[in-house]
Subunit: 369 residues, 2 copies
Amino acid sequence: MSAFSRFTPLIRALPSTVPFVGPEAIERQRNLPVKARIGANESGFGPAPSVLAAIRARAGETWKYNDPENHDLKQALAVHLGIRADNIAIGEGIDSLLGLIVRLVIDPGSVVVTSFGAYPTFNFHANGFGCRLATVPYAGDREDLNALLDAVKREDATLVYFANPDNPMGSWWEADDIVAFTRALPETCLMILDEAYCETGPASAMPSMQALIEQPNVIRTRTFSKAYGLAGSRVGYAIGTPGTVQAFDKIRHHFGMNRIGMVAAQAALADQAYLHAVVGKIKKARERIAAIAADNGLLALPSATNFVAIDCGGDGVRARAVVDGLMQHGVFIRMPGVAPLNRCIRISVGPEHDLDLLAEALPQVLKAL
Amino acid sequence: MSAFSRFTPLIRALPSTVPFVGPEAIERQRNLPVKARIGANESGFGPAPSVLAAIRARAGETWKYNDPENHDLKQALAVHLGIRADNIAIGEGIDSLLGLIVRLVIDPGSVVVTSFGAYPTFNFHANGFGCRLATVPYAGDREDLNALLDAVKREDATLVYFANPDNPMGSWWEADDIVAFTRALPETCLMILDEAYCETGPASAMPSMQALIEQPNVIRTRTFSKAYGLAGSRVGYAIGTPGTVQAFDKIRHHFGMNRIGMVAAQAALADQAYLHAVVGKIKKARERIAAIAADNGLLALPSATNFVAIDCGGDGVRARAVVDGLMQHGVFIRMPGVAPLNRCIRISVGPEHDLDLLAEALPQVLKAL
């Protein structure tokens, strides 16, 4: 196949991998319809009715580029979080922000520390900029803060990734532990504190804004994709010192935000009553997923997120068989990528109907193993 | 101001520039409302009613990530263009695709050739990856194909940018000239043929798909932002050989597309009758802008785009005064950034009401100079 002859050496060495196969691709590949879409940690509860009303009311504005300064959402977030607008950078979802952060700090050969089996899209970006990835095993299905810190120091790492609560395991650390980690972190290492699931965890797990806002080597990333139900809108944000987050302006897509997506994000932020109600539904759905697991003799891990990891009591082959078997019934779920995490399957919360399908299909799948 | 201490040398050396200041920022800075938004080459005619109906009907899907393979839009574009789906890559507007293309081929120090005064966002990306930019002057307010080719050969350039029709001047070349350029181009240089304005130019200026589809060193970029009226939706696409466009899969944001933006793009593509009608309106608006210029003793340049460059008969200082003066009346326009192009102002087409405001304000502004 004929390709341009002069891609960079780094590009030539990269594989054509995707971090995740989408449910639509699975439908096409396997010629099976997804009936319960509970695999990508989206929110089947959807965004607030007020958000949908705002999208419909302002659809006609989509002929205009979005404000490249993202002024209004930054102001609203600043008020909501009790910080300043210049502590915030907006991006096309956390995925996009992760790519920008990697680019800001990684030269080929720089060392990046993460946990073995943590968020693959971060690794996709880190490898894409030629880093050397140093991974630390999970300990007890949690990212291992102490081992991460040791690795940073040992490797003189430029960047460390840590998600709290964690994906794919749903586990979490308490705020005090995280603050202590940031205080012990060398100032030459930037920490990505990925808080994609911050709305669904215990309050005690979330450091206050004030606890970290003065640290130039900490960037917290958050999103409207999860609890707010706006994965398809692609709006995320990064929180840090003004000096650190202003670096995004050197390389970000200034006109990259979708205008209606921004309308949706602002409406979502303004409707905290809906968020509160949805978080309640998410907690109930987690309990129901755990109950379904227990009914089938499987153990659900504690979760602070909008999904539940379930130990299938075997290895990755067994868990993969459960994932594939559920898809035969139209139930789309995912699983962690590496051992020992991949003894688990990962099921996103969703409406009753989706979990009914899960409850119906899971015993049949397990029986057929 | 406290910033992380270990950004890469390349990042530290980059300025915090933005390619364009948005109209919302100008409103905030100058405390003036934009009444006629005819500066960013958006389409004030808006997208088709069928597109707005599709957005409203499917707003509820925004809780789902978009299909990372962008299957449906690629299929529809392939049918529309008479090429194959694997000739196409989808991205968050041409701006985003430009960034990816630069990253695919540029290492620090690689040479990139473009025209002096051409699209600044391309330069933003090229500089952002550390290239050495070699620029060629416009000739007669057109990009100079022959000089670009000479520069590519002289500099052993890895990448050359060429827009047809051109922004900011609105000028164009005939298809045969462009095809000849690509045939003469060294295979070690990738050409970006930016066709953002392809729908509004003469048919004779657009090479057929078949003329270039076998060339691994040509990528054509197109967008739904201009004639289709979807700038805020952020959907662009790149056309090339399968081997070349598949390279995007190594580094693109697989889950980066806005789901409702993709719904809008597919609906827009399906409504060619609306596109045809809008292109008619764009041509009439170009004629009206030229007439307004003539009424004021100014010369409008020929345009194949959705904007018109108008020679203000002086230097950049005079043109800047016209741009600033029009904004005092709420008329937002822009101008080219460098001499000699910056003797011109650049006015985007728009509905009658917007051009009425222009016609009213321009003589007052010129009188006050």
